[in-house]
Subunit: 209 residues, 2 copies
């Protein structure tokens, strides 16, 4: 039985406290070996039926990045039109993506048609394939933060239209667009809290059913 | 800038290597303070728009547990009928849930109608609310393993019918049914691999778009 120490558990809690959704990046590159180490955590993630349905693409070309940025801008302008008054003002002042600066950008998809795992566990809840991809992303996020890297998850996207622009295989669903790089600053409080959009709430006591 | 050490990063990778989907539990109880510490990692998880949409219920009463177990058995029998020959034989021999033994069982829902976060980031991709819940579950899973606890995620369930049996609020979606307890054994290889259902594959090199 492998045992972990109190010191490790404390550091793990610290890591979770300092992990942030980062949108402000320095532009200096991420060394390949560092990124590779972080990406190893994908292969260690749990997946329904051992289906490992995650598929990754490094978004590196000008064309692929422009498609993503244009898609984000349109979705973000649309979202802004959904708010009124003070909310709209706050929203307009938020920085919701690091796509202009992040040196590394990775699109993470789920292959909903994979035959790996022969469908085990995904018959009644096929969404667990996408959830497996999210588990892998969360492990990557923590591994990256442990290296000092920031990760930002952009979800203000029209995913089907972006996948069409990228000519993504038809069975793949975009789960996340990740911006990755060295963060400009560090904080234990989320930017949305610091800028007055929303406050974190404590976990309520666990109710029994 | 908080820095983490090489030793911590190595332990974090070890934690990910030893984390398993556990289905074989000892029946001795999980001390309350240990479980509480692990549950703290929910509140530290990222969530779209800071919406914190996770909702937890401890499944403790005989009625609530029986509803879950019966639901699993029916869904599992259904799933078995979907396989033929050697696959069906292997499937029938797998232990796919620890619901009979796990001392702690927690249902994790997503409140799809929460107003917290005012919908930020979830307009075009509302599924990111459920993905936020999965992020929190993954953090809990790692925190639990760091305490020596095993977690098993049961997805062979007819979720709408189980939610109806539990009289779950109508806007809540079941994301995961978690079995929690001290594992009977420990391995770096998933049980599905050891029992010949599927093999883990290495991550392919990152392709550039």
């Amino acid at each position: 039985m492998v045992q972990f120490s109190d010191a490790f558990r404390q550091d793990l809690a610290e890591l979770m406290r300092w992990r942030r959704d980062v949108r402000r990046f320095r532009t200096d590159p991420v060394p390949g070996p560092v990124l590779d180490r972080c990406l190893q955590s994908f292969a260690l993630a749990p997946s329904v039926g051992l289906s490992q349905p995650w598929r990754l693409r490094r978004i590196g070309s000008a064309a692929a990045r422009t498609a993503a940025r244009d898609n984000f801008r349109a979705a973000n302008a649309d979202a802004l039109r959904g708010y009124r008054g003070a909310r709209a003002e706050t929203y307009a002042g938020l920085k919701l993506s690091g796509m202009d600066d992040a040196p590394e950008q990775i699109a993470v998809f789920c292959d909903d048609a994979t035959t790996q795992g022969a469908g085990l566990g995904a018959r009644t809840m096929p969404e667990t394939r996408r959830y497996s991809v999210v588990c892998a992303i969360m492990q990557f996020w923590l591994a990256a933060r442990a290296e000092g890297l920031g990760v930002g998850w952009v979800s203000i996207l029209d995913a089907p239209s972006l996948c069409a622009a990228w000519k993504t295989p038809k069975d793949w669903t975009l789960v996340a667009y990740l911006c990755i790089g060295w963060p400009r600053d560090d904080d234990t409080a989320p930017e949305l809290e610091r800028l007055g959009w929303e406050e974190r709430r404590a976990m309520p006591p666990l109710e029994m059913l």
